[in-house]
Symmetry: C2
């Protein structure tokens, strides 16, 4: 098993991408020294602007992120992408794997792309995501995209982890997706109708304009009121609208200091709470043992499977808690 | 605040749907007496066959479930649906709300439909889902559908909660969805290409046939080998293929006793583990306090937001644990 070098934190801070990649892999695998290195690089971050890009499957998020990366490179800005892929529930492997687009930027050391599998964990974002973003931030990338697939928890998580959220939709995905948009509107800073040259794009733009006019946009507790999201029609494959999206992102980057401070505080609350909860969950799971070994857990499982005991009472009996 | 009646458990067991609905609402809101009533009804369940129906947004899951409900009713079988909707991250409200289709079956007391919001909790399935299924099972429904929106965690959870999983796809959702299918293949017992009259349906059927021939289908630990999923082309709006899907579900219902026992044991393990973890997470969150109140949490958040402390060390300091 590889052990991470003692100098990895210094190398990451100096912008060494080989070291950054090694540290991210080591964090994924929880290798000795990885967490200490993460803690050592953490104070050197805080300068990156983190953009979440989310939306339902099939709307063209990857293509859009690729176009935004190219736009950043065209003005010589270094850019990183953390792509969170749904993974196989049993084998744990990432499904999308090494992406074709990674080839496109393979010879450009101003671009760093990292695919992370969610590994079937609770919650939509990989636990490695915030760690990977912290490493890339410390390595000096001024702009980091987090791309998430799916509808549901991942979108809520990305809103907590990112400085700005781009929600991508596309025409013709049906009423269900239409309904999903109401939730997405609440987290969106930039709202993109991608595949804007397709049938139904006019309708999608009109619907969203109406929804934006009607929607309440609740402030987060303790934070300033939020502006309505920018609504942009795009065709990422043809490059249409990409400059507008980048301009909207740049406007968000120029947010006043109080907004930025409120965002940092919210990110800190969510990260700490998630870590505390995850530690507690893991400790509790370890404490009750595994169903394979003889013991209280195995016998309790048999009782529940035979319907002699309900799962709620079983959980309380195993943890010694009652309510 | 309504308090649940002492006789609700008896009424649920007698098949009283008003009582069942009241108990599910009470469980959602964690009203006094609700958990005791759930425990009282639990031993009377275990007879329902639970079918998870999942797939990406826009593939037509709701329409398909509606058609399956009609098929069950055509043979006079009572049927219940638990529809898990993504909810607003801030307001907590379900987006799809009372569905149009609920109207269709509104006067048929052989059908019970319950929409649950995920409420932004960790994990893809609402914590209320398993409780709602337990209530419907105890109330005597022989067939219960769990419908989940989204790609990712919800699909993994539904595979643990259900006796059989129907994965729904549709043509023309792009490469991303295509890639997602590899994960879905692992959990599918029945694989449906819906909207089978659309362009691309032939291609989707051919692709899936190839993938099924190539895919390894790992057994779950301690369980018998699993048969390849049935692949069915359907058009739920026109009713095509619905009888075939129902026949595939019926074949799974007739599974041998050892398969059924292994499934019940797996469901018990996952339910107990999830409950133990959730209890621990909630207890840990409560123990560290809230960021609004002065105290260690509030000051730690300020330190992390100012990047003087990293979130991993902060979580450990708050819980008194180190590693």
């Amino acid at each position: 098993m590889a052990v991470i070098g003692a100098d990895v934190a210094d190398r990451v801070r100096a912008g060494d991408l080989v070291a950054a990649a090694a540290l991210m892999r080591a964090l994924d695998d929880d290798l000795p020294g990885a967490r200490a290195a993460l803690r050592a690089v953490y104070p050197h971050g805080g300068h990156a602007f983190i953009v979440g890009v989310t939306g339902a499957p099939g709307v063209g998020k990857s293509t859009l992120v690729d176009a935004l990366v190219a736009a950043a490179r065209a003005r010589s800005e270094r850019v990183a992408v953390v792509a969170v892929d749904p993974s196989s529930p049993f084998s744990g492997g990432a499904l999308l794997g090494d992406r074709v687009r990674m080839q496109r930027h393979a010879t450009d050391d101003g671009v760093f792309i990292r695919s992370l599998a969610t590994r079937g964990q609770q919650g939509g974002l990989s636990r490695s995501t915030t760690a990977a973003v912290a490493v890339l931030d410390a390595a000096g990338f001024p702009l980091v995209f987090i791309e998430t697939v799916g509808a549901g928890q991942a979108e809520i998580d990305v809103a907590d982890a990112a400085d700005a959220v781009v929600v991508v939709t596309a025409p013709g995905l049906g009423d269900e997706v239409q309904a999903l948009k109401a939730g997405l509107l609440e987290i969106a800073d930039v709202l993109v109708v991608n595949k804007g040259d397709r049938d139904g794009a006019d309708r999608a733009m009109a619907d969203l304009t109406t929804m934006l006019a009607l929607a309440s946009r609740p402030s987060r507790p303790g934070e300033p009121p939020r502006a309505a999201p920018a609504l942009i029609r795009a065709s990422a494959t043809g490059g249409n609208g990409v400059a507008d999206i980048m301009a909207a992102i740049d406007a968000l980057r120029a947010a006043p200091a109080d907004e930025r401070a409120a965002r940092r505080r919210r990110q800190a609350v969510r990260q700490i709470t998630a870590l505390v909860g995850e530690q507690a969950r893991a400790a509790a799971s370890a404490a009750i043992g595994t169903e394979g070994a003889p013991g209280p857990f195995a016998s309790t499982v048999e009782e529940v499977a035979a319907r002699k005991l309900d799962p709620w009472s079983a959980a309380e009996a195993l943890t010694g808690k009652t309510r």
